[in-house]
């Protein structure tokens, strides 16, 4: 991205994703969101004297799974280290993290910005524990006389994913984040609920003169928790740094924080005040030796990832946009595939899914995984339309009825006598009636106004409560009005 025709922006992002294991990384407390303060705690996560950590196997499994999905290499030998610093939300005043032997090394994912594809590199991913939550008495930290700590979140497992500084525009950064979160959601290692803080972003931004190669001084803005704040933060930071550089000054390398209210970044700590973390190997936890069998066992549990699914759907004839929409979230994509297994017409199915199905679920605030309509049931409904038993229009109503009652389409059609009338004999009488009742339209049609037949078709539909097969009605009318 070129700023004011002078500078290019370089961006790298660290993503902290909460892993949705049942229990915390080093103790058996639940990771459930939203409990009353300090009720999901124990001597271990409270950092009480004498307490010791015990690693949750599932955390390692999830980390390996995420790493594989991001094309990382899984370390053969990995260990935990203590990151020492003081802060009230840190119950031991050190965070058990991974320093020099992270579980995932390297990796990449492909983004697409307005048709331009680009690979973004991933440096590493490692496991660590989350800190507790601070509640401030005032509106911000600096205006509060006191703060309160809730350690329910302390010890929740995190995967920290560090990107290479490969992004050169805000669009690329956002595309990277959306893609990364999508992959985490697909592998089901995180519930990815940004609004609950399940995924947080630390954004590093620097500018350099257009066309140069060496990196400028970067700043890090910590703890952003929505795409919109990432966008606004980056816009602000880029403008701020450009102003500084234009004034002939140097950007200070520092850690900043985003003030949502004012829409600005503020200094959190300077390089001089930067923490000396004094990393050393965690003596309370033996290291990990990850044999390749373990990795392969996890690899087998990987779902087909979004990129592959999009390609598959496009190969079935779906336009790129539709394929992207359907594979956006895993649950919907799985639902699509499950329905497709019973009903082979991908394009029709896609239209129904993107249209009526999504509309119905949204208006009922229901997720697809909780949907009362199963894949098989949806497939049956679409089959009925294909067979001509049901008109598309009436099918929409049947869908709603299926949602409300959980009944099969066939049962509802039978119950309510909604079957499409495709029997000529049954329709001829009505067609004749409509022709006699609308002489003007007949005259208009014979005079060359094709629109008139639409009106007559409509009248037949009305008379049959929409159940007549419109194609057949059209055909019969044309035969009669010759």
């Amino acid at each position: 991205m070129v700023v004011a025709d002078q500078y290019e922006m370089v961006c790298g992002i660290e993503v902290h994703a909460e892993l949705q294991t049942k229990t915390k990384i080093f103790c058996g407390c639940t990771t459930e969101f939203g409990g009353e303060q300090n009720t999901h705690v124990c001597p271990v996560c409270l950092g009480m004297p004498g307490a010791l950590p015990v690693l949750n196997r599932e955390v390692v499994n999830y980390a390996i799974k995420a790493g594989l999905a991001l094309d990382s290499e899984i370390a053969e030998f990995s260990k935990f280290d203590r990151k020492n610093y003081f802060y009230p939300d840190l119950s031991k005043n050190y965070q058990t993290s991974q320093f020099d032997l992270p579980i995932c090394i390297g990796g990449k994912l492909e983004i697409d910005v307005d048709g331009e594809k680009k690979w973004i590199g991933i440096t590493r991913a490692h496991m660590e524990e989350d800190a507790g939550k601070l509640v401030h008495s005032g509106t911000t930290i600096s205006t509060s006389n006191e703060s309160s700590v809730d350690y329910n979140r302390a010890g929740v497992p995190l995967l920290e994913i560090v990107s290479e500084p490969d992004m050169s525009s805000i669009s690329e950064a956002l595309a990277y984040l959306e893609k990364l979160v999508q992959i985490l959601e697909y592998t089901e290692v995180s519930d990815c609920r940004l609004e609950q803080g399940s995924v947080r972003f630390d954004v590093n931004v620097s500018l350099r003169p257009h066309g140069t190669k060496s990196l400028g001084t970067r700043t890090e803005t910590k703890n952003l928790n929505s795409y919109s704040s990432v966008r606004r933060c980056m816009e602000y930071e880029v403008a701020r740094q450009a102003r500084i550089l234009n004034a002939g000054k140097n950007v200070v390398q520092e850690t900043r924080t985003w003030d949502e209210g004012q829409g600005i970044t503020l200094t959190l700590r300077s390089k001089e005040e930067a923490h000396d973390y004094r990393y050393f190997p965690e003596p309370d936890l033996p290291p990990l030796v990850i044999d390749r069998n373990w990795v392969e066992r996890i690899r087998k549990t990987l779902p087909e990832l979004p990129a592959k699914r999009r390609a598959r759907l496009q190969a079935l004839g779906l336009p790129a946009y539709d394929a992207a929409v359907i594979t956006q979230a895993r649950a919907m994509s799985d639902f699509f595939d499950a329905t497709l297994a019973y009903y082979g017409d991908a394009k029709t199915l896609a239209n129904w899914i993107m249209g009526d199905v999504t509309r119905l679920l949204n208006s009922n605030q229901c997720s697809v995984s909780d949907s009362p309509i199963s894949a098989k049931q949806l497939a049956e409904l679409l089959e009925l339309i294909k067979k001509g038993t049901l008109s598309g229009k009436i099918a929409k109503g049947v869908l709603e009825e299926m949602y409300g009652t959980g009944k099969d389409a066939a049962a509802i059609v039978k119950e309510k006598g909604l079957a499409q009338i495709s029997d000529e004999g049954a329709l001829l009488g009505i067609v004749d009636d409509v022709i006699s009742a609308n002489p003007q339209s007949v005259v208009d049609y014979k005079a060359g106004k094709d629109k008139a037949i639409g009106f007559l078709v409509g009248q037949v539909m009305k008379a049959t409560k929409g159940q007549a097969n419109p194609g057949l009605v059209n055909q019969l009318l044309k035969e009669k009005l010759v």
Binding site: G47, P49, L52, N84, P88, V149
Partner: protein, 493 residues
């Protein structure tokens, strides 16, 4: 006098209904009330709870139920082991009023074994020290000479056993803190293999070095207690799932053919000549009993102390970071959290603790990690390799437990380095993670000396055999400090 007998003897008394648990516990409580005002081994005594627990044991006895070997036996725990609902201070102002909401695993296991917890005993603050002079609550006196230290950091634990204020105690050992006080006070002290006894609930000093172990009058008692506390604990990730034997099976009076190595580096200039002589006599006894004794070398011994003091203080600096006034413990008033941290820790920690935190923080700090901490961990490997090589030829190694007998109060506290250097015979064992036991081996000018056997990892059995044989063929363990009239009258000083 019923107190003063060993755990196994007391068990017989209880089983044969010669004494009730209530009577026994009462006798120990009385003893504490009599002698502790002078000796100050105890920080907390829980008379009511102890009597309640005894009543429970008596109920079992009257119902003729089978009694376990430790059931009804009164004991005390070093005050760095968490006891639910009972103040646990680590002898520090920082935790003066701390009441743990949970039991350490060892507390739990001894409870299940039916022991009677009499209270918590004194120590050097946060287990940092070799004399119990660093306790916030005042010093404990050596019963053999009230002007001398009992050793540390498990000083209270050693004294309590020596003067029968408890039938046994548990101490902890990071650089010699069970063995050295055991030697200074004339009792048996065992530091098991690292990983043999759970550290869950032991308030941490140096995570990769700390171990809990029993202090007792006799070797048999020691094995009985180790039986109860040792073994895998899923709550401690450094706890080892080894096949735990019945340690009393090794109490055999026979060391014929036992290959004992004498590492020459443990008999150097720093060792008091009288102590060295005493140990030589002990070695002769072992030879007379059929052991094959010869010299060996642990060439990296001289590097053990600097390596230990870098590793232990580095880990301690991190382990003690949690004491900040937020969740428990002392809190100093301040305008902001940073001030609160600094003032709380300045007020809550004693000099030795602060010194070690400073040293450890420095050793880990940016620019110094490689030269200090990392270097020390590499030297640790070399020290361990020295032992591995020695154990290819020998079954056990032997040395004086400490270079001197108990020193006078204040003698070493002025120069911290001098204090550290006195750990030369005990510290390498913790670095290597191997087990070692100290047993009474004589007297020098009226003060006890201890002999230390060192063994292969998880070979406490051979240590017990060697110690038991020596014990059964000597009289040292039967000798008790004669307490002055003043002490016995609960006198003031």
């Amino acid at each position: 006098m019923m107190i003063g007998q060993s755990v196994s003897e007391l068990h017989e008394l209880l089983v044969h209904k010669d004494v009730s648990s209530t009577e026994l516990t009462k006798a120990y409580i009385d003893r504490i009330q009599t002698v502790d005002p002078e000796l100050k081994a105890y920080l907390t005594v829980i008379e009511n709870q102890a009597m309640t627990q005894s009543a429970e044991v008596d109920r079992k006895i009257t119902q003729n139920q089978v009694l376990g070997p430790l059931e009804g036996i009164p004991m005390a725990l070093k005050d760095n082991m968490c006891t639910e609902g009972i103040r646990t201070t680590c002898a520090s102002k920082m935790l003066e009023d701390f009441i743990p909401p949970y039991n350490a695993t060892v507390t739990e296991r001894l409870k299940v074994a039916g022991t009677i917890l009499l209270g918590k005993v004194n120590m050097d603050e946060f287990a940092m020290g070799s004399s119990t002079e660093n306790s916030y609550f005042g010093k404990t006196r050596n019963p053999w000479d009230l002007e001398r230290v009992p050793g540390g950091s498990s000083g209270g634990a050693a004294v309590a056993v020596a003067v029968d204020e408890a039938a046994f105690t548990l101490g902890s050992d990071t650089g010699g803190s069970i063995r050295q006080p055991a030697a200074f006070c004339g009792v048996v002290g065992m530091k098991p293999t690292y990983g043999a006894v759970s550290r869950y609930g032991l308030i941490a000093f140096a995570s990769s070095l700390d171990q809990i172990g029993p202090l007792t009058k006799t070797v048999r008692d020691n094995a009985l207690v180790l039986n109860a506390i040792a073994g895998y604990d899923p709550r401690d990730s450094t706890s080892v799932a080894y096949e735990k034997p019945d340690y009393t099976k090794f109490l055999v009076n026979d060391i014929k053919g036992l290959k004992i190595g004498i590492p020459r580096q443990y008999y150097g200039d720093g060792i008091d000549p009288d102590v060295a002589r005493g140990i030589q006599e002990g070695i002769q006894t072992l030879i007379d009993l059929g052991a094959e004794v010869s010299e060996c070398s642990l060439p990296h011994t001289e590097y053990a102390i600097p390596a230990y003091y870098l590793i232990a203080t580095a880990e301690a600096s991190s382990n003690l970071a949690r004491y900040d006034g937020v969740r428990y413990g002392l809190r100093a008033e301040a305008e902001d959290v940073l001030g609160m941290f600094k003032k709380t820790r300045a007020e809550g920690f004693g000099q030795e603790v602060k010194r070690r935190i400073m040293l450890g923080t420095y050793a880990l700090s940016s620019g110094y990690y490689d030269a200090y901490y990392l270097k020390a961990q590499k030297v640790r490997t070399l020290i361990k390799q020295d032992f591995d090589k020695a154990f290819e030829k020998f079954d056990v190694l032997l040395s004086p437990t400490a270079p001197t007998t108990a020193f006078r109060f204040g003698e070493k506290s002025a120069d911290p380095l001098a204090m550290y250097l006195s750990d030369i015979t005990t510290v390498p064992i913790n670095l290597a993670g191997i087990p070692a036991i100290s047993i009474p081996a004589g007297f020098v000018k009226g003060m006890p000396i201890g002999m230390q056997f060192m063994g292969k990892a998880f070979d406490e059995g051979t240590l017990y055999r060697a110690a038991y044989t020596f014990e059964q063929n000597t009289q040292y363990h039967t000798l008790k400090p004669s307490l002055s009239e003043e002490v016995l009258a609960g006198g003031s000083r």
